[in-house]
């Protein structure tokens, strides 16, 4: 019998479709009966959506220009070489 704690442990695999058929069915059964775990899975899904939609590492403009300059120099010496 799958307990709530087990479900929290494998919830991430469940939402990614990484569980084997038997485990996936156990999770589905549990979710039918357990409102708290339904909330948990829903919230975990939402968290993943937030992470996916989040533009990470904002590169500061100064660093981007520094990279541009480094590339420009390399291009110049490639042109000469």
């Amino acid at each position: 019998m799958l307990m709530c704690r087990d479900l929290a442990r494998i919830g991430s695999d469940y939402i990614d479709g990484q569980l084997g058929a038997t485990d996936a069915i156990s999770v589905k059964m549990h979710l039918l009966m357990c409102r708290d775990c339904r909330s948990f899975i829903g919230n975990l899904r939402e968290s993943v959506r937030l992470i996916r939609g989040h533009s990470d590492y904002r590169m500061d403009e100064e660093y981007a220009r520094q990279l541009d300059n480094a590339v420009d120099e390399a291009l110049e010496s490639r042109g000469r070489g």
Partner: protein
């Protein structure tokens, strides 16, 4: 999300091979954030920035050898990872590997000894989904929490979720097993889960 996906990659690669400056500047802007995410897995911020810069200088020549067997992004990420590993080897340092438990302490503490919830989830995020995505304070908070994740968790989650690499590629780039990757991703997601829950409840980061 990256805009890189919207441009035709083979056009970009041809322009890079031809040495077009504008193409390089565009590539720098599109790909460097992901490359930094990889480098930060191994190194501190300033060394990571150095490695990304060295990589671009190297790519000006090395792009001629790019055959398109993998995507450009994966190719760049592999170069970055290899350069980082070399640096660590020279410095005689190992990447520490802390994989361990699958449950974040903040979640593991919320169960009774029998395994049922003692402190169940209080809110359903999805009922607030729209406002969540548009909430600027939350987005800042997310930013803060993502950058505070342990290096390995952050790189894994960034490559897998934000940059949408396949699990196999992430394992390859970071040199970890599939099961280690799963643990890193589980833990990072749970941390963000706890952050969102806290934010929803208190309105504060």
């Amino acid at each position: 999300m990256q805009t890189a996906q919207s441009i035709d990659e083979s056009d970009l690669v041809s322009a890079l091979k031809a040495g077009e400056q504008r193409a390089f500047h565009q590539a720098v802007r599109n790909y460097s954030p992901g490359m930094l995410a990889v480098a930060r897995y191994y190194l501190d911020r300033s060394s990571a920035e150095d490695v990304v810069q060295e990589t671009w200088v190297n790519v000006v020549e090395a792009i001629q050898k790019f055959e398109g067997r993998s995507g450009l992004k994966t190719w760049l990420h592999r170069i970055v990872a290899n350069r980082c590993k070399n640096r660590l080897r020279t410095a005689n340092r190992e990447v520490s590997s802390e994989f361990g438990e699958e449950l974040e302490p903040g979640i593991a503490d919320r169960f009774q000894s029998g395994g049922r919830w003692a402190t169940p989830p209080k809110l359903r995020f999805e009922e607030h989904a729209e406002s969540l995505m548009e909430n600027e304070a939350l987005s800042d908070c997310l930013d803060k929490h993502l950058s505070a994740l342990p290096e390995q968790q952050r790189s894994a989650v960034m490559l897998y979720e934000a940059h949408q690499h396949k699990a196999e590629d992430v394992c390859n780039i970071l040199d970890i097993s599939a099961s280690n990757l799963r643990v890193l991703i589980h833990r990072a997601r749970q941390k963000i889960y706890l952050m969102v829950e806290d934010f929803q409840e208190t309105g504060e980061c």
